[in-house]
């Protein structure tokens, strides 16, 4: 064979081998670490574009966000355990908070939210004394009283003076006049889809029976999960598979629980209608959202401690006026959220029609004395710091870095708990209060998104395999 032919052949096949090796390297990621960065207006295979289209506008400087929330996906080449997402952005809108979330549960539409910017805390930390503690915790006090965060945690002031942001503070929540009821009561309303509520027990079992129906509007399986959380986290979980029956029932009974408030999460898709809830517990406060399904009694009245109430419907027959205290939300368009600030707390919400989604930053109850809400106020646009007599803010939020007129902030996520569909993770970028088509007071522009993924390296994987070859 001619030497030249052989040379050409070797060179060409070598180039092909190098290209395949290069592709394999970036597929396997043997180091266990890889990062992808995009200009927000130039998505690629790994980081998808910001959607939905009616809430974003791509321009030279980046992508302008017009409505809350917007989404993007991240498609890693293989499995990773953690993702650090850095966003370069600008926010001159009236919305003081920018958060980044990762979808953990699609059915419950549950995003794990992490802060990118909180203008309220940024401004307060400039004028109020600030103390830094372990693990990035910060205490911002109206007047200097505590020298360390630990000192604050050891001798907490009244909880009515504390607001939190990106911080979990375990506090004792007790209802002074609570007495268990001897008999069960029936909550005879139709609730659609997933919901969660607070209940309260004292020297009694936490017991609930849920009667629910499957509308079977979609062909997917409609399992139902029930989770119960105490202040320390998940304490009970039950899963009910879809057995093709249109009517189903599930009950739960947990005994020997200490007195306090518990969060019950009913996780189902919108095909599921809860017809009836039977429980001896008197406290029933739905958290953040109520979707009263079609077929309820008319002229419903709800009570809320929310500072802002929003109403929305997807049913043209449900277009109506929603009275919030002395004011009203004119629900005259479907698939659009209308909001109003409440005057009093608790405030009444009068619904002339059902099949309306009512949401807010507080809880919703069927009686004014059932508004059990053990949460401390969150530092967001609805927090009234002076009127609410908030003297302390405890936060894990670190603040965004500023450079070249842009802000840069990072959030770290655990991918092992995240929901993945078609190899993609779903992220959310939230600017609460920003609504498409309404004046925003400025603009929110996303310039860059960088995702740093970390996971098991090839060497660790091989080592693990030889240590436990059968995965024991």
């Amino acid at each position: 064979m001619d030497k030249n032919i052989l040379k050409i052949r070797i060179i060409l096949w070598l180039i092909l081998a190098i290209i395949i090796g290069w592709f394999s390297y970036f597929k396997i990621v043997p180091t266990g670490k890889i990062s992808y960065a995009i200009a927000a207006n130039r998505p690629n295979y790994f980081i998808g574009k910001l959607t939905p289209e009616d809430r974003v506008t791509a321009g030279q400087a980046g992508v302008t966000v017009k409505g809350d929330p917007v989404y993007f996906s991240v498609r890693p080449p293989r499995r990773f355990t953690r993702a650090k997402v850095t966003v370069k952005f600008k926010n001159t809108t009236d919305s003081p908070v920018v958060e980044l979330g990762l979808l953990n549960d699609k059915m419950a539409w549950n995003y794990e939210l992490k802060p990118l910017q909180n203008k309220i805390i940024d401004q307060l930390s400039l004028v109020w004394p600030t103390v830094s503690g372990a693990a990035g915790a910060r205490l911002i006090e109206r007047e200097k009283k505590y020298n360390t965060v630990e000192q604050f945690l050891n001798s907490l002031p009244p909880t009515s003076e504390i607001a939190l942001y990106d911080y979990i503070l375990k506090t004792e929540f007790k209802l002074a006049d609570y007495k268990p009821r001897p008999e069960s009561r029936v909550i005879d309303y139709n609730w659609r889809g997933a919901y969660q509520f607070y209940t309260y027990i004292k020297n009694e079992a936490l017991a609930y029976i849920f009667d629910f129906a499957d509308l079977n509007l979609n062909q997917d399986s409609d399992p139902v999960r029930i989770k119960v959380y105490s202040q320390d986290g998940l304490i009970y979980e039950k899963r009910i598979a879809d057995d093709d029956a249109s009517e189903r029932q599930v009950s739960l009974k947990i005994t020997d629980l200490p007195e306090g408030a518990y969060r019950v999460s009913f996780i189902a898709n919108d095909d599921i209608i809860t017809k009836k809830i039977i429980s001896p517990q008197s406290q029933f406060a739905l958290i953040n959202k109520v979707w009263l399904a079609d077929g309820n009694a008319k002229n419903l009245v709800l009570y809320t401690n929310s500072r802002e109430v929003s109403a929305q419907t997807i049913n043209p027959a449900s277009l109506s006026e929603v009275k919030v205290g002395g004011r009203a939300i004119n629900l005259n368009e479907t698939h659009k959220q209308f909001s109003i600030l409440t005057g009093n707390r608790p405030e009444t919400i009068a619904l002339a029609k059902d099949d309306i989604i009512i949401s807010g930053d507080g809880v919703f109850a069927l009686a004014a004395d059932s508004l059990v809400d053990p949460r401390l106020p969150n530092v967001d646009k609805n927090l009234e710091i002076n009127q609410g007599k908030i003297n302390y803010i405890l936060t894990g939020y670190q603040g965004a870095k500023s450079a070249d007129g842009w802000l840069s902030a990072a959030a770290d996520f655990d991918l092992t708990k995240a929901y993945q569909e078609n190899g993609k993770y779903q992220f959310l970028l939230s600017l609460p209060g920003l609504k498409a088509g309404e004046p925003a007071g400025g603009e929110a522009v996303i310039k860059e998104i960088k995702v740093e993924l970390t996971g098991t390296s090839l060497a660790e994987k091989i080592k693990k395999y030889f240590e436990q070859p059968y995965g024991n």
Binding site: I5, I8, L12, I19, F26, K27, Y45, F46
Partner: protein, 56 residues
């Protein structure tokens, strides 16, 4: 020189054929492995052009 070029295009044709087959197979086994970085349509165009050059 002319003969060398013809040989080069012939050899390139074999390599490009193998590359297309390999990349398609890899893409079927591990989606996104090649398409994430490279549009196979360009490779197909290159392969077609090379094939035409080899034939004429």
């Amino acid at each position: 020189m002319g003969i060398n070029l013809k040989i080069f295009f012939q050899e390139l044709f074999y390599v490009l054929t193998a590359a297309i087959l390999l990349f398609v197979c890899l893409e079927i086994i591990w989606p996104g492995m090649t398409l994430a970085y490279f549009n196979l349509n360009y490779l197909l165009l290159l392969w077609l052009s090379d094939g035409i050059i080899v034939l004429i």
